[in-house]
């Protein structure tokens, strides 16, 4: 009898899992001061992503699709061919990495009040994927392993400094209703 009990006990122990919460972590900016002027950012350094209430995308002024968003964002942030309409790079000396050119590019995300949450998460997910993939590339080049597999916190921090999560959300405006 006690054997059976122990069997049941181990069965339940193995099958039951405390449901862990997964998600996309973000940090909100502190609230704006009363008369704070937004910092001047060169137009070439901004990658605007707008989503309307029909869940349609407008990327840098052109209609786009969520499936191409990741590739577009990666090309914008990395700017491999040094295009003049894509962001400037600034050489920064980072410990562990040496001097790397850090992109000044910022992704500006703006959504309508009517945008669905599902679409918003998809856009955030694709943008995060772009940043993660760039980090993986740099990490493989410098340390020979993917960013998520780095065990040394110093190395991980160096990569994060070289490719920051440059996603800025526009101050919400109450347009579009509901």
């Amino acid at each position: 009898m006690s054997d059976i009990s122990f069997l049941l006990l181990t069965f339940f122990l193995l099958t039951s899992s405390i449901d862990t919460d997964n998600g996309i972590l973000r940090k909100l900016p502190p609230p704006l001061e009363k008369d704070q002027t937004p910092p001047e950012i060169n137009k070439r350094n901004i990658f605007t992503v707008m989503v309307n209430k029909y869940d349609q995308l407008l990327v840098n002024g052109r209609p786009s699709d969520v499936r191409t968003l990741k590739a577009d964002a990666m090309e914008f942030l990395a700017n491999p061919s040094n295009r003049v309409d894509y962001p400037e790079k600034k050489p920064v000396n980072i410990p562990e990495l040496g001097t790397v050119s850090v992109s000044k590019g910022v992704i500006s995300l703006k959504n309508d009040r009517g945008t669905s949450y599902e679409m918003y998460i998809q856009v955030q997910d694709q943008l995060t994927a772009a940043i993660n993939e760039l980090r993986d590339q740099l990490s493989k080049e410098k340390f020979g392993q993917a960013f998520s597999k780095l065990t040394d916190p110093k190395k991980a921090e160096a990569i994060s400094t070289a490719i920051p999560v440059a996603i800025s959300e526009a101050e919400p405006e109450n347009i579009g209703g509901k």
Binding site: D21, N22, G23, R26, D112, G114, Y117, Y120
Partner: protein, 156 residues
């Protein structure tokens, strides 16, 4: 009559403790099965959106939850509502909720407090934006958009 009196006195047999462990195990299973880890009962239906780039929330004790979705019971309407703890709330209640959550934690942990937004995928962003504005106002900057792991597709 001598026939009905037992010789040597009457002894009460001791309780058989052989099945004690079974009873204890039975209790154990009973409690294991009926306990759920969720602290608050959901009043709103939530189907989290799917995403690929997800991270695990590390410390469960440092997470407070805000649920948003359409009410499960039809009598509360179909409009998306916010649930804090065990009851419906409005946008204006969020700051008080965050302050309560902060006070329930140690002073050291207060900065690490993460707010997890469990939002149904059909909810409109207007409501989510309002919540985020409130969280910014009261300094709860660390947030987590709760999602499910996407079933991988070749196209992605």
């Amino acid at each position: 009559m001598a026939r009905f009196t037992k010789e040597g006195g009457h002894k009460v047999p001791g309780i058989n403790t052989g099945s004690m462990s079974d009873i204890v195990f039975m209790f154990l299973f009973f409690f294991m099965v009926i306990t759920t880890m969720r602290e608050s009962t959901l009043l709103v239906s939530i189907k989290s959106p799917q995403a690929t780039q997800i991270q695990k929330l590390e410390k469960k004790s440092l997470v407070s939850y805000i649920y948003v979705g359409a009410p499960i019971r039809a009598q509360y309407g179909t409009e998306s509502r916010i649930q804090l703890n065990d009851h419906f709330a409005s946008i204006a209640d969020i700051q008080e909720f965050v302050n309560q959550e902060r006070e329930a934690r140690d002073e050291v942990d207060r900065k690490m407090l993460t707010t997890s937004l469990k939002v149904d995928e059909t909810v409109r962003m207007g409501l989510v934006n309002d919540i985020k504005q409130e969280l910014r106002e009261c300094g709860a900057f660390k947030i987590n958009y709760s999602t499910r792991k996407k079933v991988s597709k070749a196209s992605l």
